[in-house]
Symmetry: C2
Subunit: 182 residues, 2 copies
């Protein structure tokens, strides 16, 4: 938790060839900004990779994935259970990915799937006691990885980032996921 913008590992010697040097940059563990650094698309893709890397680093590979973690979290908010469509909608995933994640969680005993009380034709998923224990156990490392991700920003910058992300995701929520087949 002590990383700062200047606390960067040095660039491997051979790698520095071919990478243009930026004036005033003492250490280069990142490429000298190419034109792609002006594109939100590039930065968002990289940040997505980075946060997955941090999650893996802090929570380990044997643990649940961020998506499984998200599904368990969402399910704590549905005491009557949630069907695949609802989970897909909440997580922003397509139905087949969602069903797959649910199957994996069910196999590990973290959720159970049963017909809905109100509509027996509909299967709903509910978080189990084991699922809640898993969530509780994994919450600290997840939190550390998220804190670590944002740690280079000032409190004001963090708020600005989270606000901007929430607005963008909210406005374009239906983009980039398979259309709902209800």
């Amino acid at each position: 938790m002590t990383r700062t913008r200047n606390d960067l590992p040095t660039l491997p010697r051979r790698q520095s060839r071919g990478i243009r040097k930026a004036a005033g940059d003492e250490e280069q563990s990142v490429p000298d900004p190419s034109r792609i650094w002006t594109r939100p698309g590039f930065l968002i893709r990289r940040l997505h990779q980075i946060q997955s890397g941090l999650f893996l680093e802090k929570c380990g590979t044997s643990t649940i994935t961020p998506l499984q973690f998200g599904m368990l979290t969402v399910l704590t908010e549905y005491s009557d259970g949630a069907d695949i469509g609802t989970l897909a909608f909440q997580l922003g995933t397509d139905r087949s990915t969602t069903a797959d994640v649910a199957r994996r969680l069910a196999r590990r005993g973290y959720i159970e799937q049963a017909p809905a009380k109100t509509d027996r034709r509909k299967m709903v998923s509910r978080i189990t006691k084991e699922g809640r224990v898993c969530l509780r156990n994994k919450e600290p490392c997840m939190q550390v990885s998220q804190d670590l991700l944002l740690q280079p920003l000032s409190p004001k910058q963090r708020v600005a980032l989270m606000d901007a992300l929430r607005i963008l995701v909210r406005v374009s929520y239906d983009k980039g996921r398979a259309k709902m087949r209800l």
Copy 2:
């Protein structure tokens, strides 16, 4: 380019069941924020999906991918060509993904691969004339998709977002990608 925060499609009737209603929300095309909306990880994953969706929507499926686009862009900045390690470093991708993207571009004639002038054992990629034409042709739709992505934000919010993204990607650049094998 006329979307606003209020210009959201309505939620399908069946979907609204099971989604908790937020007070003061007139239209619901997004789920009522679950606890996961407070996590940068969730928002960044969703935004990554959204921008891929927008790129596909504006540039079409038959076109090059965002990563191929990025590689061509980077190669315009290396007149002597760039090896896979350099491209991987610039794009933040692992070597095998990078080599795969380069192969695809080479197959389409957008780049050519040849031994480096300074080190014949090293293969470097160079952008071809066809590659530059492709870039020029695709630049407008790429730009539209990026503009559309950020359009819901005020100019000030856009700057804040881009600044925050740049800082985070810069500080944690080495996370979330396969370690360089040089």
